[in-house]
Amino acid sequence: MGENRHIGLLGTIVTIVILILLILLTNVDTSEMSYIKSLTTKITAPVQTLFTNLKNKITGNDEYFAQMDELKSENEELKKENSKLQEQLIEYDILKAENESLIEKMNLTEKYSEYSTVPADVINKDISNYSSTLIINVGSNDGIEKGMTVIADKGLVGQITSVTEDTAQVKVIIDAGSTVSCNISTTSDSVICKGTLDNNQQMRVTYIPTDADLIVGDSVETSGVGGLYERGIHIGTISEIVTTTNDTDRYAIVDVAVDFSKLTTVLVITNQ
């Protein structure tokens, strides 16, 4: 009798616990229980997927495969369309580059309108680390001759050293063997600018008159002395003045205006 009472009490307690749990679970926001959901999904999803696939295979779910075929053909079409668009994009890029090059040439020609010039593209650069030459795509057929001055948007580039029918070689001013007779624009002092191995964007100013008053930032341009280059073409600006105990030995460093590493378009002055 007493045993039955105990079983009844236990049943009651279990029922109450189940009820409380049910109440709690039904009143709690499901989003707060996502970890449980995630856990259950993790357990059940693979089994469910397996069974669904199995069912599809058994029942021959044609719709799925029909959709697959449709998607495949659609994908093929999209791929073709994509390749066409890519081709168009490449064509556009080429046209854009050509246009930019033509604009650059036109601007250059306008800028140096006092000279008779021939525009050219740089097609090759020196392979050596110790010399600086450029190959441009104009030659004797375009009226180019040895000794002509070559300029770019920002200033002097160099001089033509050899010519073939369709190409010409340019000795660049930064070449270690290059020498340019120059003027300091503010003081009109005559100096000599030499190419250097030290830096591809700098020249060394030597033979500075002892009474010359150089200042960092002074502009340097060609003097025309010697007849190698036209007069008044910008070369660069003085970035450093190195003084020595002997005034005759002092020199300066010029940052050349033209960026030779990115040079693509030049003008050859033909009416020297």
Binding site: Y130, I135, L197, D198
Partner: protein, 191 residues
Amino acid sequence: MRKVGNIRKQKVSVASNLIVSIILIFVFILIYFLQACVFSNITIDGVKPNLFVIFILIIGLFGNNTLSLLFSVICGIWIDSIYGEVIGITPAMFCLIGFMATWFDSLWSKDEKISIVIMVIIATFIFEFGSYFLRSVIFDFEMELLAFFKILAIEELYNVLLTIIFFGLIKKLGYSMERKLKRSNMYTVEL
């Protein structure tokens, strides 16, 4: 009968030399475009390697004097005609490298990576210093030795790295060229 055999052997010898030369011409063209288009843009601190020095050195090491001289002159004139202000410095320096390679061959083993690396270092130094010195004499400019050696050190490093990377290929091509030329020499000796 013997005369006919000799003529055939002579033909084989000429054909072998011709095949080797044609292959080398193609290799030179490939190296030229690699140097001009690829390695001009892939630089170490703005310094490019010199693939031509390695090429001429390999011909001198694995080929013979005639082939080395021929390619030194042809390649040198080609490079000078495109980039040089005077024609002659590069072929002269290439010839020197070619002859040095023959001398290296008698001194060191060309199977060892380290010996090839040392040869490349010496050849690059001789070529670049010689060319720079000759240019400074011809065009009468002052040599900037400190700046020159700074660039040369990087160029040497680049050349050595390329030699180490392509050592297997260099050895394979070199020995196949050597075998072909030896066979043709055998026929020539019999003549």
